[in-house]
């Protein structure tokens, strides 16, 4: 089903009209209510009356994560605190956490875009959803929760962790949809196997997985072990939380709800827009949010955009490609750009199964060294040292020919790399510690 067909299948002109009206009002609101933006507009010599349509958005300044930190905790809010009914915050491991707030209308918006999201993934009213995203300051759990209520599904708010109980409830309650991070879905499959539970026999049909980048190969692996459709969800708490974009059954890009979250793709260095289909940094403007609106927020996520109508689900909403990585996840090692997802693709090809790996970057002298630690599995283990060394060399060679970097490879014992309940820790960078 399509939750808001009048929006999700609207023609380009209608969408543009909606976006233009929203943007004009947004700039007025921010100019009046948020000192940060009032100053930024003045610096750029922009008056609200200069903004006449969505095309004028490129005249507006960008907003960066650092701006949010500097205006900690509430200075970015465009509404008085007594109208802000819910506040979330990032973990803030480096400095001030990022704080986001929601008015009653914002929570309604969140429910709506998440209801759309679940429907895009194939969900229907009446479905049982087991929600293993964390509930708490992290927006994942509550976002799915509000969307499920809005779509009139039955939500089972397990949150993350207590994995054996997750598996028992999947069987006993018979959820049709599971929501969690892809790495946790893999971990659950491992635990289920240890418990002797045949997860393919469960009623589960759809997984809505996100909150961390994952590759197409990893999707195939998850779909194989679970016997489900694994769909990619995209969101970030600064914009709303989960509910920014979602893959439909075509599995060919994520439909972004551009009527309320206006997307642009820019070159992160020149800040100029890139052509349709080209990779760049995703920039989003929240056109209708009340408490915590953002103009041209730089997500640091690398993707591309496709404005063609989706022939499979019929939506006209543009599609962003599966994320290629983050500008700040990108490791620069000896001048070479490396994304963990590139290493993951290579390992999946070689190990023929979901790789558990970690990238350790160290500086020895003036030279950066990348060590790829890979857990050994039954498929590739041999009693002959020769064959194991060939395997190591093969990984080294594939990384060198695909990425152009000579990395060290260390084979490690199964389950020796820490499993995540939330986001997988793929990179340990010891260069600055």
């Amino acid at each position: 089903m399509i939750f808001n067909p009048e929006i999700e299948t609207a023609g380009k002109d209608k969408l543009k009209e909606i976006q233009s009206n929203y943007l004009i009002k947004l700039v007025e609101r921010l100019n009046d209510n948020v000192e940060f933006y009032n100053k930024k507009f003045k610096e750029a010599s922009i008056k609200p009356s200069d903004i006449k349509s969505i095309d004028d958005i490129t005249k507006l300044p960008f907003t960066q994560k650092e701006d949010l930190r500097q205006n900690y905790p509430f200075k970015m809010f465009a509404k008085p605190l007594n109208e802000v009914l819910e506040i979330h915050a990032s973990s803030g491991t480096t400095g001030n956490p990022t704080v986001v707030g929601y008015t009653q209308n914002d929570i309604k918006l969140w429910g709506t875009v998440m209801a759309r999201t679940i429907a895009v993934a194939g969900g229907n009213p009446g479905d049982i959803i087991q929600n293993a995203y964390g509930y708490g300051l992290f927006t994942g759990g509550l976002g799915v929760h509000y969307g499920s209520l809005e779509l009139k599904c039955s939500i089972v708010p397990t949150s993350s962790g207590v994995t054996k109980r997750q598996i028992k409830l999947l069987g006993d309650f018979g959820a049709r949809i599971l929501t969690c991070t892809p790495s946790y879905a893999l971990y659950m499959a491992e635990v289920a196997q240890e418990m002797g539970v045949d997860i393919k026999a469960l009623p589960l049909e759809i997984g809505i997985f996100g909150a961390e980048p994952w590759t197409a190969n990893l999707r195939n692996e998850i779909e194989k072990v679970w016997g489900i459709d694994a769909m990619d969800i995209y969101g970030l708490s600064e914009i709303i939380g989960p509910g920014v974009a979602q893959e439909c059954k075509a599995k060919n890009g994520l439909h972004i709800f551009s009527d309320v979250f206006y997307p642009e793709i820019i070159n992160p260095e020149t800040l100029e827009p890139v052509a349709e289909g080209q990779d760049g940094e995703l920039v989003i403007t929240t056109l209708t949010k009340e408490a915590f609106p953002l103009i041209r927020y730089r997500t640091k996520d690398i993707t591309s955009i496709n404005y063609e109508k989706c022939e499979v689900c019929g939506r006209t909403l543009p599609r962003i490609s599966k994320l290629k990585g983050r500008t700040d996840d990108m490791l620069i090692i000896r001048g070479v750009n490396v994304y963990p997802s590139q290493i993951e693709e290579i390992l999946l090809r070689i190990e023929e199964t979901e790789p558990h790996y970690q990238l350790v970057v160290e500086r020895s002298g003036t030279l950066d060294q990348l060590e790829v630690q890979v857990e050994i599995n039954d498929k590739v283990f041999s009693d002959e040292i020769k064959k194991m060394e060939i395997l190591e060399q093969k990984i080294v060679k594939e990384i060198e020919s695909n990425i152009g970097l000579l990395a060290g490879v260390k084979l490690v014992e199964p389950k020796s790399i820490e499993r995540s309940m939330g986001k997988a820790v793929r990179v340990i960078d010891k260069r600055n510690s």
Binding site: I376, N377, D378, F381, S382, D383, E384, I385, K386, M388, E389, K410, L411, V412, E413, P414, K415, S416
Partner: protein
């Protein structure tokens, strides 16, 4: 005629080898022969035990990567040239030895060596019409 060998992947870390032997000792599996091949970062431990299936299952349950390989236990005459005769037989039949190691127990006139071949079936047929003797798993574990 073939003997089951258990191979285990272990990281080159203090105490790992001891942990493996503890896991087997806890389920009363007796190790009769072993060989450890190592690189800078990891090693492969190969074991001949009295109960290979039990050993394999126990190791798996304890999170180790372990697999069974078929090897041959060959009697090697305990005199000068004894090992040469054995190896020569395989060479003539173009059977490649991947690795080999000694078995702890001994017969009166000969030692016993464990051979891992690239092609175990070919190795078996190459000794059919020779004086070379191989031991079954049952014979092997009975030796003192």
């Amino acid at each position: 005629m073939k003997v089951k060998q258990i191979s285990i992947f272990i990281e080159n870390k203090i105490g790992r080898l001891a942990e493996v032997t503890k896991v087997l000792s806890d389920v009363l599996v007796n190790i009769r022969a072993l060989s450890l091949a190592d690189t800078k970062d990891f090693g492969i431990l190969r074991l001949i035990v009295d109960e290979p299936d039990k050993a394999q299952a126990t190791l798996k349950n304890n999170g180790y990567t372990a697999r069974e390989t078929e090897v041959l236990a060959v009697e090697v005459p305990d005199r000068p040239g004894g090992l040469f005769e054995v190896l020569n037989t395989f060479e003539e039949n173009k059977v490649n030895v991947e690795y080999m190691y000694a078995f702890a127990g001994k017969l009166e006139q000969s030692a016993i060596m464990i051979f891992r071949f690239d092609d175990v079936e070919n190795a078996l047929s190459s000794i059919k019409n020779t004086s070379l003797k191989i031991l079954t798993h049952e014979e092997l574990v009975k030796l003192v």
